[in-house]
Symmetry: C2
Subunit: 316 residues, 2 copies
């Protein structure tokens, strides 16, 4: 609940995987870790300041008009005609340009924390709107496939941004995820540029078949169907060359038991879906394959983040 | 069960709607009516003859190598090294070039009937293969979005043709369908030609969102979600001009309560999904809108055909 007497709140928002192989710009899922923490403190003037940026990324804009964590708050102050403002401290756990939704996580965490300080709590969809505006400071456009799962948790399908319509797609309990980040950046705009404006209808048909089958597999809890369907024939071929060792890492993941793998968002992180029993073997295989391709990868592995962004205790 | 002592069998296969707005080349559903009946009689020589073509279409090839009802049977004789053949009588209930899967229905009915006369019954997927080969006599290519629902019944998703993988998607019990056929032909090849080889990625993203939402709506039994999602933004705009009155008929259907509507297969038939209570009003509205556009439409309305193609008693 919102509590105006409260002067400060801290929120956690996790990494997320956009596109999910078959759902370019529409599907995304949240991880449990890593994530960003944003602490927001009430300022007496209706303005926004960044007091500190710490963690794994520190070379981010300190101007509130340029940072994904604060652009949404400026819009919120304006929209709601607030007579107070926010001082924001950002602790980054998600590497920049990794394809794990770091911009989205900061945007979401700051909105969730600020929401806690409002007289009247915003709806989830209102929070989504401000977080989307915040993230657009990084991407230059409204894309919901990271912000949505980051905020709501789980696997989400964004049917529409204006008006906002987000559907939660069930994920079988057995599913775990490995993220392998090769410690190099991909510029999101560059990753968009390598995708042609137009693509063959025949590729669309094949991708659509996999998308519809993947969604069906999730609803049925059919792991084999999910595995057969988790294949990107549309976008991945254009982006794979931006990631040295891409095909080798995916092949190593499959060989070690992964259901499927693809580029996380715009890359260069590669995600794999895997059942719990194969989690360690797949994580190790992906690390090894990246090493052979010359990249020292950082690996995260764990469950899908079902809870979404949330307020955390100061001490946690 | 197969029964070699049997010398004759008759099968019914219904009309079907391919594409289903959001699933170009991959989704299709069967109707209960109209449909084709094919009677197949054992010949002592391993050859195929057409004895009769009757019903609403009679100007079809009498040569077994050219007719969709017999091309699959020729393949079957060859494949299985049969020492006997088939004499085929076709009773067409589905108008030619209507977009209601008439070629598929004849191909499916003949294979289902012939299967009844074999020593060893074929699997459903084997039947599908011969029916696909039969239908290719009309379309020049393997397309499964009519043959699959026609054979299996219900709403089907064809994930892959080679190897065959077909998924049944649940349809809520309340759903009914109206087919409005404006009594003019569209050449399927021409309808394919008007679709460009490449299409904008942005349109594909929008179509994918609707496809994934439609599949989710079917699994959830969420009629409103199905209605919001049953919209073709990718293919329909290119084909609508082939159907005089297209937008007016769809608008009339929506206004009368239809959940959604689009082109049935390659057209010119328009299908609408509707709940049982609105069935008559929607059927009447679509007929009226076609009449205003100068077409005297034939209307069929009823439930989704859940049973698929089947052997029928001689007398029925």
């Amino acid at each position: 609940m919102s509590d105006r007497s409260k002067r400060m709140a801290t929120a956690f928002a996790s990494a997320s995987v956009g596109n999910v192989a078959v759902g370019f710009d529409i599907l995304g899922f949240a991880m449990e870790a890593p994530g960003d923490r944003v602490s927001v403190e009430v300022l007496d003037e209706p303005q926004v300041e960044i007091s500190e940026i710490s963690g794994v990324v520190t070379d981010l804009p300190m101007a509130a008009t340029d940072n994904t964590a604060t652009v949404g708050l400026l819009e919120m102050i304006d929209d709601l005609k607030l007579d107070f403002g926010f001082r924001v401290a950002i602790e980054k756990g998600i590497p920049l340009g990794s394809g794990m939704g770091g911009s989205a996580a900061s945007a979401v965490a700051s909105v969730v924390a600020a929401n806690e300080l409002l007289d009247q709590e915003l709806s989830r969809n209102q929070c989504l709107r401000y977080a989307l505006i915040g993230e657009s400071a990084a991407t230059g456009d409204l894309h919901a496939d990271n912000v949505t799962p980051c905020l709501f948790g789980g696997l989400t399908l964004t049917r529409s941004i204006e008006p906002v319509e987000v559907l939660r797609i069930p994920v079988p309990d057995e599913i775990r995820c490995v993220l392998a980040y090769p410690n190099r950046r991909v510029d999101t705009r560059r990753a968009r540029e390598v995708v042609p404006d137009e693509l063959p209808v025949s590729d669309f048909v094949a991708q659509s078949a996999n998308l519809a089958s993947f969604i069906t597999g999730c609803h049925r809890g059919d792991l084999e169907l999910i595995g057969r369907s988790l294949k990107d024939v549309l976008i991945e071929p254009h982006r794979a060359s931006l990631i040295p060792g891409f095909y080798e890492v995916c092949e190593a993941a499959r060989a070690a038991g992964a259901l499927g793998s693809s580029i996380s968002g715009a890359g260069p992180t590669i995600f794999a879906w895997v059942t719990a029993g194969d989690l360690e073997a797949v994580a190790s295989a992906m690390h090894g394959a990246f090493a052979e391709a010359g990249s020292e990868a950082t690996i995260w592995s764990g469950a899908i983040g079902e809870k979404g962004a949330r307020i955390i205790d100061e001490g946690s």
